[in-house]
Symmetry: C2
DNA sequence: CTGAAAGCGCTAACAC
DNA sequence: GTGTTAGCGCTTTCAG
C-alpha cells in the first residue's frame, strides 16, 4: 500500500505520481533549468490533476526571497492621500509579482519601529515607508533593516541616505499663494498640521515633517515675494485633530482683521475650515476663501469646488514600487531623491477680490 | 578557527554562543516547554548581543501557520467604505498578533480568483474578503481555499455557508425613505450602483450584490409602505463610473416631473449628484435633496451636511477579524451571518417640504 | 530540564 | 535531461 498522502499534495506527491524525481518535478513546475518538453507537460498535467499548489513559504525559505514588500503607512489611510497611495502601491506591486504586507502606525514612532521589526522578521524583500520621524531615527539603519532596501514616500528625512519619492511641495505651496494673490487677496491665513503640538499655536514648532517644512517655506516665500507683510499673515500650527483644527479656524476667523483666504496644509485642516464655515453660514469662495493641498473626489464635487494643489499620488506610488523592486532584484542601485511635479487645480473656492472687491473690504 | 557565521545570526549561532543546544535556545526564545529560568535569561542575553531576529518564514514553515491573514478588498479603497474597512482590519489584526497581506481586485471576478490563489499559496491562515460575486463562484470552495477559514465582509453570497459580517442595509434603506417621506417628499429618485450594466438603465439587473439587493428592497418596501405609487418613483441602475452616474443624475433631473429627492446607494452615486447639482447651480437641500449610504468626513463637512445612513465600518472590520482569528485558532466554529445595525444621520441635505412647501410644488 | 535528530516543502549544486 | 542529496531556520517528539 502506497504511503497515503493525507494533507494537500506537495511536490513529492506530484513527482511520485508522475514517476520522476523531485528535482525534475520542480524544474517542470517552476520552469527552469533543462527539461524535456514532454516530461514537463506530463508533470504539469499530473500536478493539475492532483490540485497541486506550490507552497510559497517553502519556496521563500529556500530562495531567501519572499516576493513580498512591506508597506508602513502612517496615520489613517482614511486620509485622501494615504488611501490612494496604498492602492497605488498594492496595484503596482502586484504587476511586478509582489504582494504587500501592510501596517498602519498612527504617526507614532514606536508603532513604526515595531512595525518594521515585524516586517523584517517576516522576511519582506523590501520596505516602503512613510516615515513618521522628523529627525534621523535609530530604527532605520541598514542593520535594523537587515540590509533590505527601503524607499520613503511622501516625505524625506534629511541626512538619511534613502531613496525617497516625494512631490514638489515647495513649488506647490508657492503656486497656491501666487494664485490667491493674483486674485487680489492680501490678508492670508495659514493653517498648518503639525504633530507634536497640543491644540494649536502661533509658534513654529522646531521639528517638522519634510512635507510640512516644504509647504511652509513655499507659502512664506511666495507671500514675501508678493509683498505681503508678515502683519498680513497669520500662521497657526495645529494638532491633527478635529477639535484642535476647528478651534484654530475659529481663532483665524475671529481676529479683528481676519484673513480673506485660508491656505491649509492638508485635507484634515481643510475639513476644519469647511466645517466651521458651514456652522457659521459662511460661504466658501465668497465670505471666506480656501486652498488646500491634495485633491480628492469630494473636493472636486463640492459647490463651489475647492481649489487644490493636486499631487500625483498614483505615479508616486508606482515609482516607489519600481525603484524598490529594482533594488531588490539588483541590489546596489544608487539612492535617489525624486520629487514629482504638482499641479494647481483652480476651482471656485477662491473669491476674486479684483473683479468683485465688494466681497472683501480692507 | 570557528565557523565564521557570515550572514545574520540564526538560532544556531545563538545556541552555540550560549553553549546550549538548538532546542534549548528555541525554548528559551520562544518561551515554551520546560526551561531553567537562568538558562533562558542567558540565552536571551546572548541573542540580544548577537542582534538575533527570528526568521518568521522558517517558523511558519515548521509550524504550518504564518500568522498572516489575507484581505481581498474589491475596488478602490478610495471608496469611503473600503478605506476605513481596510484600516479596521489591519488594526484589529495587529492587535491579535496577525499581519495582513492585502490585495485589490477591481470588482473583477478573475482578479479576485487569482488573488485568492496567490494568498493561499502564500499560506495565509485565513481570508477576509469582500466578494465581488453575486452568485456562488467556483473559487471559494473549501478545496480551493485549502480548508482555510474565510469571512466575508460587507456582502453575503446567499447559499454559501460562509461567515459574513454585513450591515442592516434593508433597514437602513427603509429608514432613509421614511425620513424623506416624513419631510414631505413624494417624488423619489433612486440611483443604484450596479456592476454589470453599461451606462445606466431603468431595468433592474438580474444579479446584484447582496448589499445592493438589500438596499433596493428596503427603499422599495418603505416607499410602498408610505403609499408612494410606482409612478412617483424613478429607479436608475447605474454603472459605477463618473460618466455613467452623472448622466444618470441628469436623466433623473430632466424628467418632466423630476424627483424632489435622490437616494443613492453608495458614495460614488452621491458624488455624481453633488457634481451635477453644482454644475447646474442647484442647491442641495433646497433645489434638490439627497440621502446616501455610508458616511464620510466630507459628507459631514459640506454645507449643508449630507444626510446619510451611517454604517459601523470599524466595528464590522473588528468583528470580522475576531471571528476569523477564532476560527483559525480553534477550527470548526459555526458559520454566522451577522448584520450590524446602521444609523440614519440627519443633516441638512433633505429639504423640509412640509414646513417650506414653496420649495417644492407638485 | 536539556540534547539529538527528524523534517516542514522546496530548490540548486553536483553527479551521472 | 534527470536523479541524488543537502540544506534554508526553525520547532518538536523522543530519550535521557
Amino acid at each position: 500500500m502506497p504511503k497515503a498522502s493525507t494533507g494537500k499534495p506537495t511536490i513529492v506527491d506530484v513527482a511520485e505520481k508522475a514517476g520522476v524525481s523531485r528535482a525534475t518535478a520542480s524544474r517542470a513546475l517552476s520552469n527552469y533549468g533543462r527539461i524535456n518538453a514532454a516530461t514537463q507537460l506530463h508533470v504539469r498535467r499530473v500536478a493539475e490533476e492532483l490540485g497541486y499548489r506550490p507552497n510559497e513559504v517553502a519556496k521563500a525559505m529556500r530562495r531567501g526571497k519572499t516576493k513580498t514588500i512591506g508597506l508602513v503607512i502612517v496615520a489613517d489611510f482614511t486620509n485622501a492621500f494615504f488611501d490612494r497611495a496604498t492602492k497605488g502601491v498594492v496595484d503596482a506591486a502586484r504587476e511586478l509579482g509582489y504582494q504587500v504586507l501592510i501596517t498602519n502606525t498612527n504617526e507614532d514612532l514606536a508603532a513604526e519601529r515595531s512595525a518594521i521589526i515585524t516586517l523584517i522578521e517576516k522576511q519582506v524583500d523590501g520596505l516602503i515607508v512613510v516615515p513618521a520621524a522628523t529627525a534621523i531615527p535609530d530604527h532605520l539603519t541598514p542593520d535594523q533593516l537587515d540590509n533590505k532596501p527601503i524607499v520613503f514616500i511622501d516625505r524625506r528625512i534629511d541626512g538619511l541616505q534613502v531613496t525617497s519619492i516625494t512631490t514638489e511641495d515647495f513649488q506647490g505651496a508657492e503656486e497656491a499663494v501666487r494664485h490667491v494673490l493674483s486674485l487680489g487677496h492680501k490678508r492670508l491665513g495659514f493653517l498648518i498640521a503639525a504633530s507634536g503640538v497640543a491644540g494649536f499655536t502661533q509658534e513654529r514648532p522646531p521639528l517638522l515633517l519634510s512635507t510640512v517644512e516644504d509647504r511652509i517655506n513655499g507659502f512664506a516665500k511666495a507671500a514675501s515675494d508678493g509683498g505681503i507683510k508678515p502683519k498680513m499673515q497669520t500662521w497657526l500650527y495645529c494638532e491633527d485633530l478635529p477639535s484642535a483644527s476647528e478651534a484654530a479656524v475659529m481663532r483665524l476667523l475671529d481676529q479683528p482683521k481676519p484673513p480673506s483666504v485660508i491656505l491649509t496644509s492638508n485635507n484634515d485642516m481643510a475639513l476644519a475650515v469647511l466645517k466651521v464655515a458651514g456652522n457659521r453660514q459662511l460661504t466658501i469662495g465668497k465670505d471666506i476663501s480656501l486652498v488646500t493641498i491634495d485633491d480628492s473626489q469630494w473636493l472636486e464635487a463640492m459647490s463651489p469646488g475647492i481649489t487644490v494643489v493636486a499631487r500625483p499620488v498614483e505615479e508616486l506610488s508606482r515609482i516607489a514600487v519600481e525603484k524598490l523592486v529594482a533594488n531588490i532584484e539588483e541590489p546596489g542601485q544608487p539612492e535617489e531623491q525624486i520629487a514629482l511635479p504638482v499641479e494647481l487645480v483652480a476651482r471656485g473656492s477662491v473669491a476674486n477680490l479684483i473683479l468683485r472687491p465688494e466681497l472683501w473690504m480692507e
